[in-house]
């Protein structure tokens, strides 16, 4: 099966003020695959994936060189509609961040801002999204209750369902299990494996076992450089680079 590139990273440099956080590398992210980004804290993992939906625009005094191509379109070009890019590239954050609204309203919010007003259509998509996020059975009786009353793991799946509702093509996960217990983590991982049939997934994680379990490709970032990138199985069994091997075996990190 031929691999299709969904996101292409071309000679990317990223600066916070004068500090260079990403130091120039290329990387192709393949369609319908799970790509894990691993590396020690501060290596630029989050910065990298937050570039894919231009979340870094929100941080003042940042600068970007190079380009990110999503399906042949430079997402940083002047012509690009950033709002549309963010709809196509959904994001699940490190800490579950449902809105202080009802479960139903949390999911339907994205539909409203994307112009779906019809009540029946909204209900249909909300139910569908909750089912896809493996949450429907747990919340179907309490759609009008606050999402903040749910457990951490359920909240994170609300956030996933919220993303799915606006029909993205890519899903970015920024350490989605960092604040969750093992059971919830397992549920999220199962979900990711299920979702990759339909979506291109990029996941940042501190947990190497998690990367090994869920991903097809793994990128190892260190001090803003892409040290090694390839099939997960190869990276975890026969890493080509000494640094990768040292990191994976726990010699530093």
């Amino acid at each position: 099966m031929a691999l299709k590139t969904k996101i292409q990273v071309k000679d990317i440099h990223f600066y916070y003020g004068k500090t260079e956080v990403l130091k120039g590398f290329d990387m192709d992210i393949y369609e319908n695959k799970v790509t894990a980004v691993i590396g020690p804290s501060g290596c630029g993992k989050s910065t990298l994936i937050r570039m894919f939906n231009r979340m870094n625009d929100l941080i003042p005094k940042t600068r970007l060189e190079g380009s990110i191509i999503l399906d042949n379109e430079d997402i940083n070009s002047m012509k690009t509609d950033v709002v549309e890019i963010r709809r196509r590239v959904g994001m699940v954050f490190q800490k579950p961040n449902p809105f202080p609204k009802s479960i139903f309203d949390n999911i339907s919010y994205g539909l409203e801002v994307n112009g779906i007003k019809d009540r029946r259509k909204k209900e249909e998509i909300v139910i569908q999204s909750l089912k896809k996020a493996a949450l429907w059975e747990e919340v179907k009786a309490r759609l009008n209750e606050s999402a903040l009353g749910l457990s951490g793991g359920q909240q994170q799946r609300i956030c996933i369902a919220r993303c799915l509702a606006v029909e993205p093509e890519v899903l970015l996960f920024d350490e989605p299990c960092a604040s969750l217990d093992p059971i919830s983590t397992q549920k999220i991982e199962e979900l990711i494996l299920e979702l990759k049939k339909e979506y291109t997934i990029v996941i940042v994680t501190h947990n190497m076992q998690q990367a090994a379990r869920v991903s097809d490709y793994t990128a190892f970032l260190y001090l803003g450089k892409l040290i090694e990138y390839g099939e997960t199985e190869q990276i975890f069994t026969v890493p080509k680079n000494k640094l990768t091997e040292a990191y994976l075996t726990g010699k530093f990190g």
Partner: protein, 285 residues
């Protein structure tokens, strides 16, 4: 043991401070209520003043205060909210924005009598509104603008950044994010700021002294260009002018009590509104 004694002493000190504060609060309330309650009657609330302020009621005074306060809030809430939203959500964090922010904070420290003089010069004279509800409301509105802005800014800053990120990441515009996520979350905090401002506006004397208030009129205001009597200024006037000090003093205490009740009622209403808003935002619709 020594540590425990120190702790107990600390708590004792705190308790003494709290009791002192409550004591003063209680004594103020006691005096105003004890002296004001005597004059209070249905007639006092519903009649116009008679016999050179020594008899009759204070109905036009209450109405005047209501108009001035409402006018000031109608003017300052939208303006203050817009400023706060712009400053905390839209504007880039630049040098100039910092200057604006510092200026607003300084404006909050300007003495109210200075606002009164400003209102006299600009609204009464230059714009030709005369001594009127309009001039007074605008002056009061400008006076509370800084506190409304900074209260609203605080409330907006307290909204977790993760809400904004979540909304934007779903393809919402900044405007949709502000209107549908940020403002609803900040509303309880904003309302608190508004409550405090209402109390302050209703009780200020100096800003309306030259711009809106008159010592004695038997008529109710009939347009925004009417001059009015207002409770705080009325108290001041009763205590400093006129030739019947005894009757006037007791009426002044009556006015003070009414003012207190008015401000407290408005606060309670706003607090109820705030609580309802808060529980709604948590538990959905």
């Amino acid at each position: 043991m020594d540590k425990k004694i120190k702790q107990n002493l600390g708590f004792l000190l705190l308790l003494i401070c709290i009791l002192t504060t409550i004591f003063f609060l209680g004594i103020i309330l006691y005096f105003i209520v004890a002296r004001g309650i005597r004059i209070l009657s249905w007639e006092f609330l519903t009649q116009v003043p008679r016999k050179a302020m020594t008899a009759g009621g204070i109905a036009p005074v209450i109405v005047g205060t209501f108009y001035l306060t409402s006018g000031a809030m109608i003017f300052s809430i939208p303006l203050g909210l817009a400023c706060a939203v712009y400053l905390s959500e839209y504007s880039p964090k630049s040098f100039i924005v910092n200057i604006i922010r510092i200026s607003i904070n300084n404006l909050a420290g300007v003495p109210s009598v200075v606002f009164g003089l400003f209102g006299l010069a600009v609204f009464v004279k230059y714009l030709g509104f005369g001594v009127s509800i309009l001039s007074g409301s605008l002056t009061l509105g400008i006076m509370v603008l800084p506190s409304i802005i900074s209260a609203a800014q605080e409330a907006l800053m307290a909204v977790p950044q993760s809400y904004r990120e979540a909304s934007l990441a779903l393809g919402a515009t900044l405007w949709e994010t502000i209107r549908k996520v940020v403002l609803p979350s900040a509303l309880p905090g904003i309302l608190t700021g508004v409550i405090l401002s209402i109390g302050r506006v209703a009780g200020e004397t100096a800003p309306i002294m030259f711009t809106a208030a008159t010592f004695y009129t038997r008529r109710y205001p009939n347009s925004v260009f009417s001059e009015v009597m207002a409770l705080p200024y009325h108290i001041y006037a009763l205590m400093t002018e006129g030739v019947h000090p005894e009757e006037q003093t007791s009426i002044a205490y009556g006015c003070a009590l009414i003012l207190l009740i008015l401000v407290l009622t408005m606060s309670v209403l706003a607090i109820i509104l705030r609580q309802r808003q808060r529980s709604q935002s948590y538990y959905g619709t």
